[in-house]
């Protein structure tokens, strides 16, 4: 199921990303080369290559079914969990191939956290939701350490003030926006370097959305964030770089401002202006 060298016939479609001239200083820690994904017989991603800069927000946009979520899930190998899904090509983080058999997927996912479309707190207390990751990874030794980590994670997610007095209540009892921030806090607690967000606000109301967006803004200081969104406005608000996908292909990738103001590709322009979607 893991990546074997997939000989993609779609090499011609490969997009060589334009050098990010304006984002000087941002190293490229994550890079994807000629990534393909098949679901059974059906190909979902066609030879995508890109470099994702460190400590910034990169947005994936495109009409639904364009493969942006599928591509996102390649970065922490979540596609492994789907029956019949094969990933080809090469993805490296800090130069390490994530499909290297020597690399345990557990280790990869501890480094590359993920926040999902629908808030999915575990049926446990708020405290145990946060402590879950650190405990399974053996990151905390004592109760005091766990307490501290839970507090700092909740603080980073901006949820501490709201829940500090009811940490023993079930996480499922929170509101939708709070649940999503709890999931972000849960991800932060394992100390990832990269956070993948798969349409994190699609199930939230506008107020909760704006809170989460503010949070993403703050988290950028410390984490490399890749966010999939179906809302162009959101991409414009939170991201520094934007990639536009269409029918499983990367059409255009560049500075967010450039993509929205001055798209180079016809298809991008058509999408931005609402002619395809």
């Amino acid at each position: 199921m893991n990546a074997t060298s997939d000989t993609s016939p779609m090499g011609a479609n490969r997009i060589v990303p334009s050098a990010p001239a304006s984002s000087a200083g941002a190293e490229s820690r994550i890079s994807a080369r000629d990534v393909t994904v098949h679901y059974g017989e059906k190909q979902a991603i066609f030879g995508v290559s890109m470099d994702v800069p460190e400590k910034s927000v990169t947005a994936f946009i495109g009409p639904s079914g364009c493969g942006k979520s599928t591509f996102l899930r390649c970065f922490n190998r979540m596609n492994d969990t789907i029956e019949g899904c094969r990933v080809g090509g090469e993805i490296t983080i800090d130069g390490e191939d994530i499909h290297d058999p020597a690399l345990d997927v557990v280790e990869l996912r501890a480094r590359v956290g993920m926040v999902f479309q629908k808030p999915n707190p575990f049926p446990k207390s708020i405290y145990d939701n946060i402590a879950y990751g650190p405990r399974i990874h053996g990151l905390v030794k004592s109760k005091a350490e766990t307490d501290a980590l839970v507090e700092s994670s909740l603080k980073k997610a901006g949820l501490w003030k709201e829940v500090s007095d009811r940490l023993d209540q079930p996480g499922t009892g929170l509101s939708g926006g709070q649940q999503q921030r709890l999931c972000i806090a849960r991800t932060i607690a394992t100390g990832p370097e990269v956070i993948l967000m798969d349409e994190p606000c699609s199930a939230l109301d506008p107020i909760a959305t704006s809170i989460v967006e503010d949070l993403i803004h703050e988290l950028r200081e410390q984490y490399t964030i890749i966010i999939v969104t179906h809302s162009m406005q959101q991409a414009a608000r939170v991201s520094q770089k934007t990639a536009f996908f269409h029918l499983g292909k990367l059409i255009e990738y560049g500075e967010t401002e450039q993509i929205f103001v001055n798209p180079k590709e016809k298809q991008t322009e058509a999408y931005i202006t609402g002619r395809i979607g």
Partner: protein, 455 residues
């Protein structure tokens, strides 16, 4: 013979009536538009013709016994007083002569005469009832036929009848429950006239000494030994079934490829389709001796028929029950929950143990309750393999007895139905019914709540 005749008569009447209705309404349809299609007019008439016939016959079935008794009473000599055993035996002699079955011993002349008279009387009566039924049916048919008109709402009438039949069918399930409860309760009350409820529910000795006079309770009827036996066997069964069933469900839902799963699941479910008598015999002949032999090997005295034997085999029987229920429940845990845990870097087993199973726990508890209720009510395995020793003890290697075993022994013996030795079966049955009912209601409530949570 008569029943075939009556059935044929009813069918003919029905067919003729239907035919009449259809042709008559066709003729009517020339004049103006019909409210209902001709078939409904046919069905309407068929119902009107057959139902009165059946009603007459029903009345006959209910009353024929009484009429026969009345006739016999008139035939018997006055010196045989009603209500005595002589009367009853004389009456049954007459009935047997009438039916041509014959009786033992000398047959008095008056008996022959009375018996033949009875047979004649009943035959004439039966034939006239059939004729009466047919007449009533035909009369209804003719009257209703005259009332057929284009505006007759025949369809609505027929549909009302259909709906009534449907409602009646749904009530059968309720009647069954009422029947169960009433019969258990009345017989239990009868039992409690012999044995005090306190002695029954809290007694520690079970020894219903089979006395010759059935009207006195000479033995002791303490059900605690049976309760302990029942609980012990159910507990052993759950100890076998729960880990194997739950882990199988987990492996099949989380680890097995769909192809493997489609092969293995039906194989395991075969266990659920095997009749319990087969398990019982398997336990008695194969598992019991094997366990005894194994016990001998490790220096433990295990009886071939014991709580352990019955419990283990019952556990095997319950495995598919637990595994398919858990399978359903685990599959209802949203995928997002699983992804959330995997996305944090948890291994598959960590995800299962710490997220999926806790999330499915209420449903699994419900499944366990259902399985326990099944184990408690299971009969044939324990009848054959538990050894039937109603003694209060807690050693699983010894023979025990259970509610169900004792019910079977009580009602398959020679004891009179009205004796406490037989009636105790109903008291035990009622206890069993109440226990399983509570377990089921609890389990169904938990499972329903669980389903709603993820819908």
């Amino acid at each position: 013979m008569t029943s075939v005749l009556i059935a044929a008569l009813a069918l003919i009447l029905m067919g003729v009536a239907y035919q009449q209705g259809v042709s008559r309404s066709r003729a009517l349809s020339g004049a103006s538009r019909l409210h209902s299609r001709p078939q409904y007019h046919g069905a309407f008439l068929a119902l009107w013709a057959t139902v009165p016939l059946l009603l007459v016959l029903l009345i006959w079935v209910v009353t024929s016994g009484m009429i026969q008794d009345w006739y016999i009473a008139r035939q018997l000599p006055a010196d045989i007083l009603p209500g005595t055993t002589d009367y009853a035996s004389a009456a049954s002699r007459l009935r047997n002569i009438a039916s041509g079955f014959g009786v033992a011993g000398e047959v008095a002349a008056w008996e022959t005469e009375a018996g033949e008279g009875l047979a004649r009387f009943m035959t004439i009566l039966r034939l006239s009832i059939v004729a009466l039924g047919a007449l009533v049916g035909i009369a209804c048919l003719l009257v209703m036929r005259a009332r057929l008109s284009p505006r007759l709402r025949a369809r609505n009438h027929v549909e009302t009848v259909i709906k009534t039949v449907l409602i009646f069918c749904s009530v059968v399930a309720i009647l069954t429950t009422i029947g169960i409860v009433l019969s258990l309760v009345t017989e239990t009350i009868r039992f409690f006239t012999y044995v005090s409820p306190v002695d029954f529910f809290f007694g520690t000795v079970w020894n219903p000494g089979y006395s010759t006079t059935s009207n006195e309770a000479s033995g002791s009827y303490g059900m605690l030994p049976l309760l302990v036996g029942t609980i012990m066997i159910s507990a052993i069964a759950m100890l076998v079934a729960l880990p194997v069933g739950l882990m199988s469900a987990i492996w099949l839902t989380q680890y097995a490829s769909p192809r493997l799963r489609n092969v293995i699941k039906p194989v395991i479910e075969v266990l659920a389709g095997i009749p319990t008598i087969v398990y019982g015999f398997f336990a008695l002949v194969t598992v019991g001796p094997a366990l005894a032999g194994f016990g001998e090997m490790i220096g433990l005295d295990i009886n071939a028929t014991s709580a352990l034997t019955a419990g283990i085999v019952m556990g095997i029987m319950i495995i598919p029950f637990i595994s398919s229920l858990s399978d359903d429940i685990i599959r209802q845990v949203p995928r997002a929950m699983r992804d959330g845990s995997l996305g944090l870097g948890a291994t598959k087993s960590e995800t299962i143990r710490m997220v999926i199973v806790p999330a499915a726990l209420p449903g699994i508890v419900g499944a366990i309750l259902l399985a326990v209720s099944r184990a408690i009510g299971e009969t044939m395995i324990v009848v054959l393999a538990a050894g039937n020793a109603p003694i209060l003890r807690f050693d699983p290697t010894e023979p025990v007895s259970t509610f169900t075993v004792t019910i079977v022994t009580a009602l398959t013996g020679d004891a009179d139905f009205a004796s406490p030795q037989s009636l105790v079966a109903f008291a035990l049955g009622l206890t069993l019914f109440v226990i399983t009912l509570m377990l089921n209601i609890g389990a169904l409530a938990i499972v329903r709540k669980y389903r709603e949570q993820y819908e």
